[in-house]
Amino acid sequence: MKRSFIILIAVLLVAVAPPVRSETLEDGASAFIRALEKEAVESLTDPAKERPARVEAFRKLFEEKFAVNAIGKWTLGRNWRRATEAEQKEFLDLFEDLMVAMYVDRFQNYAGEKLDILKTTPVDENRATVHTEIVRPEGVDAKPISVLWRVGRQGDIYKVLDVVVEGASMSITLQKEFASIIKNTGSVAGLLEELRKKTTQLKPS
């Protein structure tokens, strides 16, 4: 008697309880990219803002929307384990500076242009690819630019894991560059030296 009562309660609970996640991964990922586009346009096209203020706004957006540390760690690959703790920390700091400096102008160039979301395909239960096209207003080649956004989900939080422009992945390219520099300089310290030079040269803010 007692047992069947418990089972009845359990069945009722399952039937009544709302699904744990109301939105699907695909919907969430495309809504996330839509929001990212909106915020990027707002923070990058405000004519009242001077460049340093714009770069700061972009850094904030970047930290919030990109899995900066996860991407950084991934691009270092097997060398992550070979680096000391201090080197790992400095690398992640430099990596963020580098990404902000590199991407502020790239985003700026495209901010305000039409971004069409074509479809979203799941990669696994927590990752999806959002297929988009940027339609250039005019140019020699009228073909739109294909941009894929690899998006990861953690609970309700979405982050960009990679950007693939016309088949070229940001993460893979950086990973190959880093591996090449470490091979040629012989150490992670050599890469950090190069990154310090590059970030100073690019002057993110």
Binding site: K73, T121, R127, V140, G155, L161, G167, Q175, E194
Partner: protein
Amino acid sequence: MMRRRPCIVMLFLCSFSIFGCATPPPKADLEAYNEYLAENDPLEPLNRSVFAFNRALDKGVLQPAARTYRAAMPLWVRQRIGAAIDNLRSPVIFVNDVMQGEIDRALTTLVRFTVNSTFGLAGLNDLAGDIGLEKHGEDFGQTLAIWGAVPGPYVMLPVLGPSNPRDAVGRVVDFLIDPFNAWTANSGRESLTYARAGVAALHARAGLLDLTDDLEKNAIDLYAASRSLYRQTRANAISNGNVTGPDVSSAPVDFPDLSGHAEIKELSGKP
């Protein structure tokens, strides 16, 4: 005199091993050795020298010419030139479409060529593109890839740029099957072949200016970046833009710490 011969050969081999070939890491360091194999660039030192030469040539000649072309020619004119170059390329694209078994794409190329060569006034207008028959590229390097040929090691060709044995063979075959080249050769108009190649190179270089300016500014190891970009864009072209294929998607999505580790929670947890 005879005794000096082996010396010269040895000297040549030595210089080649110093400037030409990379030394593979010892097999004891398995990860480094595998990375070396995966990079598939045994000629890296030589390739880097050729790359430096190509860049100097580009900076000195091609790039200034491309900038002048872009600045001096109105967009409308450059669009016409681009359309004409694409149209002349159509027969080679068509043959490769067919050899890859892509019948739909072959028909698109055929209709495009017919429409643009006639109503498009000798290819100067991409009318077919305007009615939704969009252009696509194909080459014999891609056809070989579809047929299962491996690319082989990365090779930096003088003047022509990044390649590999498969794509280099592809270039030669594309040249040989191009009816335009047969026509110029048979009618004593070889100069037209060179003129076409020159205009195509100039137009293509102008189209790449934004990309290469970005790379010059942002790349940390320009050689490694362009090697990777060449391979990725080739893989993308071979799959006809279907980059969700295993080649590109397997690596970047495999972020180890996005599946519930503490540190990603910490960095995602920022409001």
